[in-house]
Assembly symmetry: C2
Homo-oligomer: 405 residues x 2
């Protein structure tokens, strides 16, 4: 791809970011209770008013980040909605004070409906509140994020009992890649532009990166979602499970960490093992798109949606390829970005009502027409567009300055 190609994608992605943000601004705000509706039909209409905490935290993050970093989004309505979402989380997210445990889903007015015995609601609570603190300049949001971070690190590294999962004799402890991935993402978030935090979280970041690397198995040929605590393969479906989109997301998390640490060996591992390889094994050669789940030994996965094409692996892949190219100048990665972005815009983008579909059948036909739901909100699509826009700007600037244009 040449300069013209980069400019073309930059224009398309910028326009799409405007359109996607407009969709959420128009349809998702709960003016009465604060926070966001995320169960939105094709045309944006609310079909359920439940508030999923992952998606509340993610939208607070997205709005705050856009406000803080992208001049054209520095608009009062965006910050005000982010703040109303942050206040909703502060008021209702934690369900059994003084415990740090958060709900998974709340009623519209903030009463808990369900609690998951994992760390993820809490992770997105941190992500949203830390970024809101940066956007508003109010330290109380970041203080709350910091306190929650301490709880999560304690649950993961010392004592998970507060999560409420029973210890069962047949459930061997194992490392699910999502856990160190989230921690690495949070280290990235909390360390930005803060030397003190960066050194505070340095060891945790390295620990999380090493845990993620344990998931490279099968003589370095595959990323497995679950491994034993000491980095060995596990038996059964759990041990053979692969999630190409997750590996690609871990790839760009690792790449950012490697850049911060100036660790060139890790940069290369991130690109080769977590970005290129999962793409090549996870891409559907028949119909295009990334499979949702695979079995590393080629058996049939047990997840019903294994061959469906979900939006988020594709948006993560766009980020991973473009960030990988910016880091390595490896043309293959730029071509992969082009291939992935074409497929993604062609299949997921909804030219009729805006925003993107989330769930396609294997052949690429839209299977669910919803724009948001229990797991899809204002996050993966605008995050990818925002990050790709940013990287493309840098690439265009560099190419122009090299070529004197």
């Amino acid at each position: 791809m040449d300069l013209q190609g980069l400019r073309k994608w930059h224009r398309r992605i910028s326009g799409e970011l405007d359109s996607v943000v407009a969709f959420w601004l128009q349809h998702s705000h709960d003016e009465e209770y604060g926070g966001f509706f995320t169960c939105l039909g094709q045309d944006g209409k609310v079909y359920d008013d439940l508030k999923y905490v992952w998606l509340q935290g993610r939208q607070v993050w997205m709005y705050s980040r856009l406000y803080r970093k992208v001049p054209r989004f520095q608009r009062p309505e965006i910050l005000q909605a982010a703040r109303a979402g942050g206040e909703f989380l502060l008021q209702h997210g934690r369900v059994a004070l003084p415990s740090q445990k958060c709900a998974f889903v709340l009623t519209r007015d903030g009463r808990p409906v369900k609690i998951q015995r994992t760390i993820f609601s809490e992770c997105f609570y941190i992500l949203g509140l830390d970024e809101l603190g940066r956007a508003t300049g109010e330290s109380r949001y970041q203080r709350e994020a910091q306190t929650m971070m301490e709880a999560i690190v304690r649950w993961v590294r010392e004592d998970p009992s507060e999560l409420g999962r029973p210890q069962l004799a047949g459930a061997a402890p194992h490392d699910s890649m999502a856990v160190p991935m989230m921690l690495l993402n949070l280290v990235d978030q909390l360390s930005e532009g803060d030397g003190e935090a960066a050194s505070q979280f340095n060891e945790l970041g390295n620990w999380a990166a090493q845990r993620i690397l344990m998931h490279v198995q099968k003589n370095g040929t595959a990323v497995l979602e679950n491994v034993s605590e000491d980095g060995k393969e596990l038996p059964g479906c759990l041990g053979r499970q692969q999630n190409p989109g997750h590996a690609l997301e871990a790839g760009w998390f690792l790449l950012r960490h490697a850049q911060r640490q100036q660790d060139s060996a890790l940069r290369s591992q991130a690109v080769e093992k977590f970005i290129k390889q999962p793409f090549h094994s996870g891409w559907d050669p028949e119909h295009g798109g990334l499979f949702s789940f695979q079995d590393v030994d080629g058996l049939c996965p047990t997840q019903l949606e294994w061959n469906m094409k979900l939006w988020w692996p594709h948006t993560e892949a766009m980020i991973a390829f473009l960030m990988g190219f910016a880091d390595t100048q490896d043309q293959e990665l730029l071509e992969l970005f082009d291939q992935m972005a074409k497929y993604t815009f062609d299949k997921f983008h909804d030219p009729e009502a805006g925003e993107w579909f989330g769930y396609l059948a294997q052949e690429g036909k839209v299977a669910l027409t919803i724009k948001g739901g229990p797991f899809k909100g204002c996050f993966h699509v605008p995050r990818a567009l925002y990050m790709c826009e940013d990287i493309l700007e840098t690439l265009i600037r560099e190419t122009e300055s090299k070529s004197g244009k």
Copy 2:
């Protein structure tokens, strides 16, 4: 359909029952620890040795029932495997004695991996052990089933605290149709041929039937999966959720109950509201087959598999139509049986390796090649074949005697 049509289906179904039972006899027995492997690939090969308690109980039931009721299956190897499965359940099913709570999944050697905070593992534990007691004549199995039944009734009707679900302010109590359905199915099982048990469970059976009837909503035009405790519609996706296969299964549970109670009004409700109507609204007019989930207001469901075609709604529909026809002599039901059985044999049956596929994409293409997994075992397919064979035999006999053939 005429006598010849009935005979043709009887032949096909009997042959298929032989073949399906042979598949499980060949591939699923754990000779070392007892119990059954249910994670079986297309050719029957074990791809995971976890033991899901629902499927252990169901296979014990299926083997014991076939042994007890169908002369050609009265074979020692079948009873021996059922007994080994029952002993496995007795030894490992309950995970925290003296609590009655069962595991959801166990390791091959019986250590608990996961516990669900619902009643279903326990329900299939009862189903299997009661039938094993009938097949072996050993009352200790039925005594254990009886004790577990008391616990379940207590959890459902008096105090759910032993299930371990937290009481959350936003989670309004509601009636999920699966719960009274399971209770009605268990009343049917425990009452068979036992006047004392039948009168003991009479009130419970009527209660469960009334709870199921509460799920007829929208002026009698739809069966909803979840309603409030007092039989009102619930808001959101939860309230609008429909599951056509579940309604059809409830239909034949209700029909059997109505027959036992000689309740002709209930017989008609079972046929009209739970059998015909869910078929007409749940059948995919474009590609055939029953949808897995629907939204009663025509919105897009949030279940990723909503438009996939799963084996069990189709096997339940075969039973419901044939039982409905035997009860009413309504020719429409016989035609529906013919239509459903044709689709089901055509799409789910695997002529290559035997047994049936479980999961098709909307268009009818096999999406998962597994023959068994965490939710599919030796149950819905052979139960439907066994019950349809039995009903067809009666219908053929009656038709022959009427026509003097």
